[in-house]
């Protein structure tokens, strides 16, 4: 059992490393294909009146020391990956005095804090609403709250953010519209980020509660004379909330890696902004660094969630490692509720 478990973890880790290699190669290839070079863009962005190509040559030799001058692209890739193995990603093109790893170290805590706060907020609201809606199933409370939640979910977070800014900063003047000076700057972005996940989580809690309430052991527990309140607290709630781990994990990861609109709109110095800048300025080391880092975060979260789920859910634990291999799909075919499977994956990750 333990051996099987370890073997499973090892297999997952190997697959993770292989995927990282492919992801980095893919990103590198796309960047090579992208028109315009870093130097050209620097020149154009500054409104310089220079002649074609002149500035490009001037800057071309600059990164010769690390990536080699006029070496084939694949060699540059190898140099980068060699550095990545030792967490030495070298200087960014755009911020030459800073190493890519230090940019990540500065930006990631900001993005992560936003994501954590938003997830916490979403959970804090979604669980009570979901439980409540399930207990009041098929009443006006149930359909009403689900209606409002779908509404919140349907709107992308950048649009929600715009309206929040217009109301709280533009009309009422109670919160700052943008900036990163103190906790008051967190309120609007966190709320804007939390609304989408909140809706998904609440719907998930509701349907999970309904599933558990219908299980035989619940009926049995009540039949054996358990008070409904105690049964619900002891059995239903716990078992209904465990599957939440599978949704919350990927959601957190998606938020951590995908807050770019919110970061741009609120001028938050997070990592999403660094990635977009890197892509548009063709800053190869920074782009590769952030892409790899994002990929690691996403895959690690996924792995942790799967492992955690196995530990938490006695039903899964009782089964063999084989069951763990075909994750989640066989367990629950509610496509829309699970951001990993539902076609909605574009929504949380887009913003």
């Amino acid at each position: 059992m333990i051996v099987g478990y370890l073997e499973y973890v090892a297999r997952r880790l190997v697959r993770m490393v292989l995927s990282l290699v492919v992801v980095s190669a893919l990103a590198f290839t796309l960047l090579q294909l992208a028109p315009g070079s870093f130097a050209d863009i620097q020149r154009a962005n500054s409104g310089s009146t220079g002649m074609a190509g002149a500035g490009a040559q001037e800057v071309a030799g600059e990164f010769a020391t690390r990536y080699g001058d006029e070496v084939p692209a694949w060699q540059q890739y190898l140099v980068f990956m060699k550095g990545a193995l030792t967490w030495d990603l070298g200087p960014s093109y755009k911020y030459p005095a800073q190493s890519v790893e230090s940019i990540i170290a500065q930006g990631f805590p900001v993005s992560a804090a936003l994501a954590l706060l938003a997830t916490t907020l979403a959970l804090a609201i979604a669980i009570p609403i979901g439980v409540f809606a399930a207990l009041k199933q098929r009443t006006l409370w149930d359909s009403g709250s689900m209606f409002v939640l779908t509404l919140g979910h349907a709107l992308p977070n950048y649009l929600t953010a715009v309206f929040l800014v217009l109301v709280f900063a533009g009309a009422w003047h109670v919160l700052p519209a943008a900036g990163w000076n103190g906790p008051e700057n967190l309120v609007l972005p966190v709320v804007a980020l939390a609304i989408g996940p909140l809706a998904v989580l609440a719907r998930y809690v509701r349907s999970s509660m309904l599933d558990t309430l219908g299980e035989e052991y619940v009926t049995a527990a009540i039949a054996k004379g358990g008070r409904p309140g105690v049964v619900i607290r002891k059995h239903v709630l716990r078992n209904s909330l465990i599957p939440l781990v599978t949704v919350t994990g990927p959601m957190l990861a998606a938020l951590m890696t995908g807050t770019v609109f919110i970061e741009t709109m609120f001028r938050i110095p997070g990592l999403g902004l660094s990635f977009t800048q890197a892509a548009s300025s063709r800053d190869m080391p920074l782009l590769m660094g952030t892409t790899l880092f994002f990929a690691i975060i996403l895959m690690a979260t996924n792995l942790v969630v799967d492992l955690l789920y196995g530990l938490l859910d006695p039903r899964v634990r009782a089964e063999s490692g084989r069951k763990l291999r075909g994750p989640r799909i066989s367990r629950r075919d509610i496509p829309g509720a699970d951001p990993d499977q539902g076609g909605r994956s574009g929504v949380p990750s887009l913003g």
């Binding site: 315009g36 154009a44 310089s48 500065q106 805590p109 900036g179 000076n181 103190g182």
Partner: protein, 597 residues
Amino acid sequence: MRAGPLTRRPIGTVAAAAVVALSLAGCSLFGDSDGDTGGGDGDAATGGSITVAATNFAHIDPQSITFGMWLVQMGLLEGLVLQTPDGTDVRPGVADEWEVSEDGTTYTFHLRDGIVWSNGEPLTADDFEWTYERLLDPERGASGVTTGASSYQVPLGILNAEDYNTGVITDFDQVGVEAVDEQTLEFTLDAPNPGFLMGLTYPSMLPLNPEAVEGEADWQQPENWVGNGPYNLAAWTANSSMRFERNPEYWDAENVALDEINVQLVEQGAITTTVPYENGEVDIQAIGEPAEISRFLADPVLSEQMHVLENAGTAYMIPLHSTNPVMEDPRVRTALSLGLGRQEIAGISEMTEPASTLLSPIVPGWTEEIAAHEQMWGEAAVAEAQELLADAGYPGGEGFPPLTLLAGSDFPQLDAIIDTWGTNLGIEVTKDVVEVGVYVERRYAMHDENYVGLWYGSFSGISTWPYQVEQLWSPDMLRQAGLDAAGYQQFVDAQVDETLSPGDRTAALEEILATSTTDEAQEFAELVAATRETVDEAEQQEIFIEAASVREDAELIIPVTWSHVVFVAQPRVQGLEIRAQADRYYFKDLWVDDSAQ
């Protein structure tokens, strides 16, 4: 079934976690940029702080072209001379006196007595000489200190500077910059240049502290900053904000009013609204959206807060290079210029006007006669355009190939250009709005016959003749635009020819430009060169006017609109005047008066 008690525990845990996370976030996340943003201490003359919005940048080396170099110039570093607040002349900066030789080619600057860097070390003429050697260093890229293109302005005309910069000569002693003694700096020019003093107010000419720049640590970070301006860099959170604090070592510190400047860094191209300004988070901000401008103009309170510099920028279009020769026909280019609905395009915003010339009309001595035609728009112009187009073989736009209008971001003006060309000339134009990396490549690429048209851009700069004629839409830019497909291919090939030495390449490129471009473009280049042969300012201006006029007649670059520069500032901000140069104003000239509401 009671829902209440069930939910208490998770909520409690979650709330506790949130509080912990928030307090953790509060301590470390925000860095040390949370300076006191509250207003002043009530004293109208000194103290207080302001918050301004600026376009984001990656570094603040004034020797490479980024938005950062303008911010540095606004308060962190100071050159030999500064512009006057209205931007029409210079005033003393680090130098309190200077002389010009009679032939107009030698400038001698005397640095102030006792002038020092912010670390207390003396600021000497040698520091300037060292700075300019770094500026012109052809190998500078390799040192890894900077990324943008060099911000050196070739038309400044310092003796041998361009040749040193391109590697044609290698001995810096031959360049016309010399520290005569600690306090005396001498420039030698290759020809008299009436724009020289104003040219010194460009960020590339700011002094840098040699020890700091050559030091191990990153000199652009607050902890390592050594400057000579009225303010020091106190904090910088990349992509978010900056904070300046008063520099007590500044020579004129007693006349600097504000204690602190907060800069909000706004991503270029990000959605910007005036909400932060109207919410009191920002004191000074540039605005550009036509609807915002109209709303501010219509509002009796907000309109009082607008600061406008009229016609400071020009939007223009330049033909793309294509194997399709249609744009090489001067009749076609003229027809496109005259068929442009400039009034409709300018009508989009209350802050733009139809442009009859590239040259900004705020340049002293500008006249309507510089324009290529008497009527650049209106019925008569359109009629002439239609006639020319018919002459060229496309009556009513029939048989005219579909044109492309290339731009780096989407403006309503682009749609208006396409729309009016369609209406007036019957030609079909599609816009190609591309991401900036694609834009820069496509602008100068050699296209196949299916991709033919123009690219859209805009310039603004100081309103002197040398700057507007030599620097913006420079002779080389115009001559490049005038090359036909074969000539341009040669030009591009020569640029990347590894077998040429730097000197040979410069000569080869000049040879191609001089022989293959249009006659007007070459005439323009020769006229600009001729301005250097005289010290008589009136005579020089004559030549500049003629050159500007020839540049319009070439019709290689089509003027579209002139735009005003609009800033809004809270009523408490005093002393704000907008200049034509992109730094717009100096922080040292501002003060706040909290009673002014």
